[in-house]
Amino acid sequence: MPGIGLFRLIYASRSRIGGEAAALASILAEARANTAVAGITGVLLHSPDGFAQVLEGSLAAVGATFERIQNDPRHGEVAVLEAGPADARLFAGRTMAAVDGTAASDLARPVAADPAALLALLHRLLAASSPAGGR
């Protein structure tokens, strides 16, 4: 596996913070601050039930970030939906945008989601939440 090319990973997980606002705020802050340094772009979708996240960047950066997230007790039942080399960033210019998926009924159980549907949903929600988004 080449270490230089672009790599994308999508996972879904179940929340263990029960939609608590302060806990969520610190997760979002950490995600944004850390991923910026690592040159990672992506999106973090959250609902009271769970999370879904797209991480894109170098394999080393995505690997290190994903591993850090895996250690986090604030979520669990992590399922990798997609992992592999990518041609282009889908979320270029997004240093881990946060998206509230509470209203999206199909996200009640993100762990069971299929990656394509999840990606489509992420894009839709992103476009709706911040029209200025994207590069």
């Binding site: 950490e30 601050a33 910026a36 394999l59 250690n71 007790p73 240093t95």
Partner: protein, 566 residues
């Protein structure tokens, strides 16, 4: 460990200013905040303590000056300094002047500010001068672990402590399918997760291979230990990304407590291992705490193991033979040889108990060879064309040279190959289909007959029957006895018999004990039968009488005329 190149253009630029403060608050603990110009914005009290700063550093101090005041080894000081450069590595492991280790990680904040997060790494090496780290994972190895556990047991007398043992379910499969490099990476990353998930006062070790242990300080409270075990199984069982490839493994855990389950390291380790063994036996992905029954069960097992070895050495085994009969004309076809062990104290021990044990301790191949030899020699005394059926275990295809054992038994006894029938179970065909089928093929070429035993119980499939030209299918007794429902049993007997007919294989119903059962299997088209109705397994000395009873001149009681129409 992140060594990601920092890309300046990915830095967020227009974030709310108070986010830095809330971030630092969220990351309570030892941390430094560096302003965009490199000056110190904030040093938390924990960080000051960790760096052994004498008094509060004045605001506006530069990082180099701060580091001058800290008690750091020179190399550590330089590494720390490099962390403040956004293009450098974003994480480093350092030691202070006294040799205590801690990790520092850089986190970029809005407005080009940086946070340096400090994390002490208390691995308690002080308690344990012998602790050598395992080179792959950096955890203590078995020797170091034992020494550390002994030391801790000595000074934790009051609170007690917990010992967890964890191992990866089917790690060998990961290694075999993905390669040892991925396996090693997995072990190293798993170990890092383990270390992170523990408190500084707990001690983690890699005992060997994929087996890990944790000494949990200060508690022997069962719910607490079980909670920790479950948390570890959760975190370590989450997917790993290894060389870009997601890998997921499951874990099992065993728990032992001091002083309740043992006061010395060896006892405790043994008992945690017993609990782990029980967890795996109960189906993996589980956690079990040691119980005294595990001890007695394992003692029984060990005693049984010794006895079994002795029994084999002294040939305390015997073979009993059960007749197989063609019910259409009440003709005796041959006998199945059944292994018996009379334990000097316990009496007869069921093969269902001692055969798996013999398999586990590597005794099955020699026992199997003895069975073949004895059965063939005995069969030589029977009139032609009576045959003898001999069961072979799946492991005999792997551990022993079955072809050689059969060849030797036939040669020594002088029994013609066609009078020997080898019975294999479906599970034997499952474990290693290629070698098993190849061996069976060679045996069949030599004229030995092959029977499929206990058909219908395991993972029966038509393709398995088609994968080899079996001479005979033995229908499992559970379909005959009605144990699975009489109607269902009959339907299955009918299906298997039909299958056998179309594949050119004979079928025999096992476990026929009553006339009703005999009528039922016969009505479903089954010609051959084995069971108490036609004779219990009997020692070799009694077979002459059995053979005489079936001689053509004698009338067979349980053979109604209507049966002889097929």
């Amino acid at each position: 460990m992140g060594t990601d190149p920092a890309t300046a253009d990915a830095m967020p630029t227009a974030e709310p200013a108070d986010e830095a403060a809330s971030l630092l608050a969220a990351l309570e603990g030892p941390a430094l905040l560096l302003e965009a110009d490199g000056s110190l914005g904030l040093v938390t009290a924990e960080a000051a303590r960790l760096l052994a700063l004498e008094d509060d550093p004045p605001a506006g101090l530069g990082l180099p000056e701060l580091l001058d005041r800290a008690r750091l080894a020179p190399a550590a000081r330089a590494a720390f300094d490099r962390l403040a450069t956004p293009s450098g590595p974003d994480e480093a492991r350092l030691t202070d002047a006294e040799g205590a280790a801690f990790a520092v990680r850089r986190v970029a904040l809005p407005h080009r500010r940086l946070a340096l997060l400090l994390r002490p790494e208390v691995e308690a090496p002080a308690v344990c001068p012998l602790a050598r780290p395992d080179p792959l994972t950096g955890l203590a190895d078995r020797t170091g672990f034992r020494a550390a556990l002994t030391a801790r047991l000595a000074d934790s007398a009051d609170q007690g402590l917990g010992l967890l043992m964890l191992d990866i379910d089917r790690f060998r499969i990961v290694n075999d399918t993905l390669g040892p490099q991925i396996g090693d990476r997995l072990l190293a990353t798993l170990a890092a997760r383990l270390r992170r998930a523990l408190r500084g006062s707990d001690l983690a070790a890699r005992l060997d291979g994929d087996e890990f242990a944790v000494v949990v300080a200060d508690t022997s409270d069962p719910p607490e230990l079980e909670g920790l075990a479950r948390r570890l199984m959760d975190v370590l069982g989450r997917p790993y990304l290894i060389h870009g490839q997601p890998v997921t493994v499951g874990l099992s855990a065993g728990i032992a407590r001091a002083p309740q389950d043992g006061r010395d390291a060896d006892t405790l380790v043994r008992r945690a291992a017993m609990a782990l063994h029980a967890a795996k036996a109960a189906g993996r992905g589980r956690c079990a705490a040691f119980t005294p029954e595990m001890q007695s069960r394992s003692e029984t097992r060990r005693r049984m193991e010794t006895d079994l070895r002795r029994a084999f050495a002294l040939r305390q085994f015997a073979l009993h033979y059960q007749p197989q009969v063609d019910v259409t004309c009440a003709r005796l076809l041959g006998f199945e040889a059944l292994l018996r062990w009379r334990h000097p104290a316990l009496g007869p021990v069921s093969p269902a108990l001692f055969v798996p044990l013999a398999e586990e301790i590597g005794l099955i191949a020699p026992i199997g060879a003895w069975v073949l030899m004895t059965a063939c020699r005995e069969a030589m005394r029977w009139p032609e064309p009576l045959f003898v059926g001999v069961n072979v275990s799946a492991l005999q295809f792997e551990q022993g040279d079955l072809l050689a054992a059969v060849g030797e038994a036939l040669r020594h006894s002088g029994l013609p190959a066609h009078r020997l029938e080898i019975e294999v179970t479906e599970s034997a065909l499952l474990t290693n289909p290629e070698t098993t089928l190849a061996t069976l093929g060679r045996l069949r070429e030599q004229g030995v007959r092959i029977a499929m035993d206990d058909f219908g119980t395991g993972y029966s499939s038509l393709t398995r029957l088609q994968s080899f030209p079996f001479d005979k299918i033995k229908i499992d007794r559970s379909f005959v006895s009605g144990g699975r429902g009489v109607a269902e049993g009959r339907a299955i007997v009918r299906a298997i018999t039909g299958l056998g007919t179309s594949l050119g294989m004979r079928t025999i119903a096992e476990g026929v004990e009553t006339l009703e059962q005999l009528d039922a299997v016969r009505d479903e088209g089954c010609r051959e039968v084995q069971g108490y109705l036609f004779g219990r397994p009997a020692p070799a000395e009694e077979l002459d009488a059995v053979i005489a009873r079936f001689a053509p001149s004698q009338r067979m009681p349980p053979c109604p005329e209507s049966a002889c129409s097929a």
